[in-house]
Amino acid sequence: MTQNGKLSWKRKDLLGLRDLSAEEIELILDTAKSFSEVSQREVKKVPVMRGKTVVNLFLEPSTRTRVSFELAEKRLSADTISMASGGSSMTKGESLWDTIANIEALKVDIIVMRHGSSGAPHRVSNYTKCGIVNAGDGINEHPTQGLLDMFTLREIKGKIKGLKVVFVGDILHSRVARSNVWGLTKLGAEVVICGPKTLIPWGIEELGVKVIHDVKKAIDGADAVTLLRIQMERQNETLFPSIREYASTFGMNTELFKCAKPDAILMHPGPVNRGVEIESALADSPQSYILKQVTNGIAVRMAVLYLLSGALKNEK
């Protein structure tokens, strides 16, 4: 994988951070750094993906991720089309495999895929020559979100190794948390998971993270705290008694956040439920980097698309 001491990207797909080495993750973050400057320019465009076609196949509702990918593609000069489940022939009963085969037949280079089923992009990637970017699969992974969180962390803190990073909320159903856990542990951060037992996946400690149920103890001395949205749509699974009790036990506020380091940063993958997992004032405080994450998302996604299209070119 290393050429002249410099790492080169070999994968046609980005399926998850579980599969990546620390070096590969760092390559993406380094590449993203050079792309982050593009969005600051007057003319926010580079020609590196001119002539490439990208399809955004979003088979589960998404606004911010889809928009972020579309902008990343346009700023790389790729030709893009976005398909959502409502407007696709999948609602007419077409199988995912047929949809992918049809997209491939249109000579598309990369498919950015959001799917409600865990492992769907992994299964599809074996059947297509197109590069696959996982934009969130079921409750499994959301690798570009994990990468942009790490990018933000590294930008503010200058490093990742040795940082204490805490995740509070619904870890069980969070693909964002899972991608972060894989990535951060590989880069040497200390990861703490916090939430009621009902929202923590079985045996998650074996992935090298610490589980602390008391939020005050969990964020003690933290460099960064990421809050995860309580998924209102999962209320019927009796995972916690009420939003009110959740907000009073795990909700983050200015006072509580003082338990973290004075220069700790607050992150959230969105969408934010103000008054539930986060107090409104804290969300808008200078320690909150929620909007910075959104901005960085574009650079990270540009880096991923750029690296993948390079690997695809080498393959031909």
């Binding site: 199988s95 409600g116 089923s117 865990s118 492992g119 996946p201 079985w202």
Partner: protein, 433 residues
């Protein structure tokens, strides 16, 4: 169907030099056997018979035909997955001469008419099917099925299979009613309120893969409840596809107390673990799910100390377009009839140095005894030839092209196997494989 097996009617045949292993008859030696007009005449050394055809079986084992306590032949109602015809073909290809069919057909096998229909279909096809009927009407877990009539029609057991009766009050009455007619209850012990939407075993692997899991407790709780009902009722109860170390331990204890309990394990729970799921391949999605290595070891210990009496396949065919759906909604199950003998020979005969007699007990004799079918699981003079000829040393790889089942959802493709059935004799018909 790609590979149709055609049986040759056996008129007058002597099989020479076969190593016959038949624990019921206490045979474990090289002998000849004579079959005339479909029926076994006798076995012994250096048999002579005028005008008989000769089949030299030197270096081959001759075993009583395999008996499977657990298959899904899907007819009536789901003929796109399997029919009794294609199911019987798969069975014969795997060395099975008799199968207990599960009642989750459409309509469910909850009345004598469906039982009769299935048996008649098998009869026309020269195959032995022992239908099980449902415990409750429509497998809804509410009202007891017409077990007396089903038993009279030929049903050998009652079960709601995948739909374990959650309501313990209903289960108690259904088990009591079954006991009235001496029908064994087959229990797919799974508390669905715990397994809910789990697609695989709940554990470190499911957490790594971001898939919803079903914990061992779903099976353990159901097993514990059923053991207590057996203690209360003294009904004969058979645990299907035991998959957890907890269930093995509980069944061991219950049997030591003398409760009338039997149990089976499947080749896939014997050979595979939840690690197989890493490719998100729905062919590994089954119920109960593949568990951890600890559980797999407990299953083998249970087989070896007699806690688990039998090996059954839970042959569960599904069409590719059904299995190709999202992992959360794809149906549970793997086909198993055609790979079972090779997998068991590889894992247990070669892998754990089982004796051939042990294989025969787990895959033929004990299943027949559980069903009280004394013509099976052993050789019997005057009865139809139901046995197999086996090369214990043959290396082969299980491949999609070889499948006779209508469905292709196997978890064993590409697996290197040692030990293969070469001839299956069913009802006096010989199938060369």
């Amino acid at each position: 169907m790609k590979n149709k097996l055609n049986g040759q009617s056996v008129k007058n045949l002597i099989i020479r030099n076969a190593h016959i292993v038949d624990p019921a008859n206490k045979i474990d030696e090289v002998m000849d056997i004579h079959i005339k007009s479909h029926r076994i005449v006798k076995w012994g050394k250096d048999l002579a018979a005028e005008e008989a055809e000769i089949l030299d079986a030197k270096k081959l084992y001759l075993l009583p035909g395999l008996v499977d306590l657990h298959v899904h032949f899907r007819e009536p109602g789901y003929e796109h997955k399997e029919t009794i015809d294609t199911g019987a073909q798969a069975a014969i290809a795997g060395g099975f001469v008799a199968c207990v069919t599960m009642p989750n057909t459409k309509p469910a096998c909850d009345n004598a008419q469906v039982v009769k229909y299935q048996m008649e279909r098998a009869n026309v096809l020269n195959f032995n099917i022992f239908p099980s009927g449902t415990l409750t009407q429509g497998r809804e877990g509410k009202k007891i099925s017409e077990m007396a009539e089903m038993k009279a029609a030929g049903a050998v057991a009652v079960t709601d299979d995948g739909g374990w009766v959650v309501d313990s009050g209903v289960a108690r009455r259904a088990y009591e009613y079954a006991a009235t007619y001496g029908l064994p209850i087959m229990s797919h012990a799974e508390d669905h309120s715990i397994s809910v939407n789990g697609v695989m075993n709940e554990g470190v692997v499911s957490s790594k893969l971001g898939l919803r899991g079903s914990p061992n407790a779903a099976e353990d709780i159901a097993t514990a409840r059923d053991i207590e009902l057996v203690r209360l009722i003294k009904c004969q109860l058979h645990f299907q596809h035991v998959s957890t170390r907890g269930a093995v331990a509980m069944i061991r204890r219950a049997k030591a107390e003398g409760l009338p309990i039997t149990a089976e394990a499947t080749p896939h729970h014997i050979a595979l673990t939840d690690e197989e799921f890493v490719k998100y391949d729905t062919f590994y999605k089954m119920s109960p799910p593949l568990r951890t290595e600890k559980d797999r070891q407990a299953i083998m210990a249970g087989l070896e100390d007699g806690t688990i009496d039998a090996i059954a396949t839970d042959h569960a065919p599904h069409a590719l377009e059904e299995k190709d759906r999202d992992i959360e909604v794809a149906p549970f199950g793997t086909i198993g009839l055609e790979s079972a003998f090779g997998v068991i020979m590889t894992e247990l005969f070669h892998g754990r140095k089982w004796k051939m007699e042990d294989i025969v007990r787990k895959m033929s004799l004990t299943p027949a005894e559980i069903l009280k079918k004394t013509n099976f699981g052993r050789l019997k003079t005057g009865e139809q030839a139901n046995f197999i000829l086996v090369d214990a040393e043959k290396d082969w790889v299980f491949a999609e092209e070889d499948v006779h089942s209508r469905s292709l959802n196997s978890c064993f493709y590409g697996k290197k196997l040692k030990g293969k059935v070469l001839h299956t004799f069913v009802k006096g018909y010989q199938y060369a494989l």
